[in-house]
């Protein structure tokens, strides 16, 4: 087969992505740059609004905190699972995969049962006399973080198990023979080898949390909007398409820039020999 027929095979996918991803994006972007005078006027106005800035800051903070918690919880678990015997490892991987493939609505709804006013956490607090009246954890930034951690932890664990399985355990054995405690070995031997894997996982979780809709919608309520729920509210509830487009473009820029930055940092920290 020659190159011309190779092009034929690529054309449908190429046009599909071009027409249905990039054309609509340009379509929604154009009106946001048509303000008289300054082309960025819409964006300036958007960023001058303190409520919008609050939404951006909230989205960013929730994503950062989620990534940190997911990493701290995910690392030990993935180490533990990756170094089990094959049979046990398979069963445990099933336990991780099941929530990952379960509908996000179900997984977030489960936390309403736990965090709600009548939720079991409140009942537990009152039974243990930690508090006398129901505390509202649901519909706060904290509940969004909890939901996001729950949503993305399996992805981090799966991703880390992959990188840990590729490591040569003899390196750590050598460290142990030379007198490294498990803690030293963890920070000085394991983490440096895992840096690229950790960053891959973090980028996945960060981008996922940043752009997730279901979790902030179900666990954040109407008073704790993040950028994705703001897009929906502007577009469908308020019918303000222009403003929704501005938020959409800002969201794309922030998440793309963060991902690019994390990838750069990952490359800088990666101490394994490379050709470049």
């Amino acid at each position: 087969m020659n190159n011309r027929s190779a092009i034929h095979l690529i054309v449908p996918a190429f046009l599909g992505v071009l027409i249905f991803t990039f054309f609509p994006l340009i379509q929604i972007a154009i009106p946001t740059f048509q303000a008289k005078g300054n082309v960025f006027a819409e964006y300036v106005r958007f960023l001058q609004n303190s409520y919008n800035l609050q939404v951006i800051a909230r989205t960013f903070m929730i994503s950062v905190i989620t990534v940190i918690i997911v990493l701290v919880l995910g690392l030990p678990v993935s180490l533990w699972i990756a170094r089990q015997k094959v049979g046990v490892k398979q069963v445990l991987s099933l336990l991780i995969l099941f929530p990952m493939l379960t509908n996000a609505v179900v997984r977030n709804f489960a936390w309403i049962i736990i965090l709600g006013k009548d939720g079991i956490l409140n009942k537990l607090f009152m039974a243990l006399h930690i508090s006398n009246q129901p505390v509202s954890i649901l519909y706060t930034n904290i509940s969004i973080v909890i939901g996001s951690v729950y949503l993305f932890l399996p992805i981090m664990i799966t991703s880390l198990i992959g990188s840990i399985s590729e490591l040569n355990i003899e390196v750590e054995e050598a460290a142990a023979v030379l007198g490294a405690t498990p803690l030293t070995s963890f920070f000085k031997v394991l983490i440096p080898q895992l840096t690229p894997g950790i960053f891959t996982g973090c980028i996945l979780v960060f981008a996922g949390t940043m752009t997730a809709y279901t979790t902030p919608q179900i666990l954040g309520g109407n008073r704790h909007l993040v950028m994705s729920t703001l897009i929906y509210q502007q577009a469908m509830t308020l019918g303000n398409w222009q403003s929704a487009s501005v938020v959409a473009i800002v969201l794309i820029l922030i998440s793309a820039f963060s991902m690019w930055l994390m990838r750069r940092i990952s490359h800088m920290l990666d101490r394994r020999p490379s050709l470049a």
């Binding site: 087969m1 190779a6 249905f20 991803t21 995969l97 049962i113």
Partner: protein, 262 residues
Amino acid sequence: MLNSKNKILTVISIIVLAILMLPLILVVITSFNTQNSISLPIEGFTFNWYANIFQQPDFIAGFESSLLVALIASGLALIIGIPAVYALTRFNVPKASWFQSFFLSPTLIPEIVIGFALYQTIVITIRIPVFIGLIIGHFLLCLPYVIRLITASMLLLDRHIEEAGWVYGCSPRKTFFLLVLPNIKTSIIAAFMMCFINSFNNMPISLFMNGPSLTMLPPAILNYLQNNYDPTVSAISVLLMVFTGLMMFLVEKAIGLKSLTK
């Protein structure tokens, strides 16, 4: 050593795994409650909420359209994606890695933005029916899975197999269908399953494209949850978990679950 025998790791891991499982177990328990609000502990045992699922036209219609859209979008992504990967991995296409990134680029755009932009452009401006808009949106969701999984297995597939086909007089087309496709069968099934599950579970794209006559299941459940707080949501959640379990069982039987997370 930091392995599965380390006590601290074991304790942390068991706690984390319990936290992963507990919420889902609670959902199952609340679905049998006789009270008409979602609470624990439950007061009695009933299947009424499961019966109530089938009284909700949105759930039935939502399930049907989610199933249909997931099947069509996954199939479409395979039909369009596999040839593209084949061309990129087997022929000297100029800028092959650029095309590869281009095909994966929908993953860089937040799904909510894809849904919003498609709805505004395709459905509102060009007036393409909502159902087609849904198929397109879910196709964009699926394509990157196909590109990634099929590329991985095409790179592992020995080129000599195809050369052998040509030597024995197979046309390139016949070689593709009789030699290449059967050899990458596992990753085709894996890609299909990943597409299907993710499309079926998708919320952000389906959210915008809800016509008066067309509801998808995840938005329908969200909508119900926001208007009623009764264990019907728990019951349908349990059915969805059974559905997930069934899918995992099928994948395990067909190709082994490991192929999904590769």
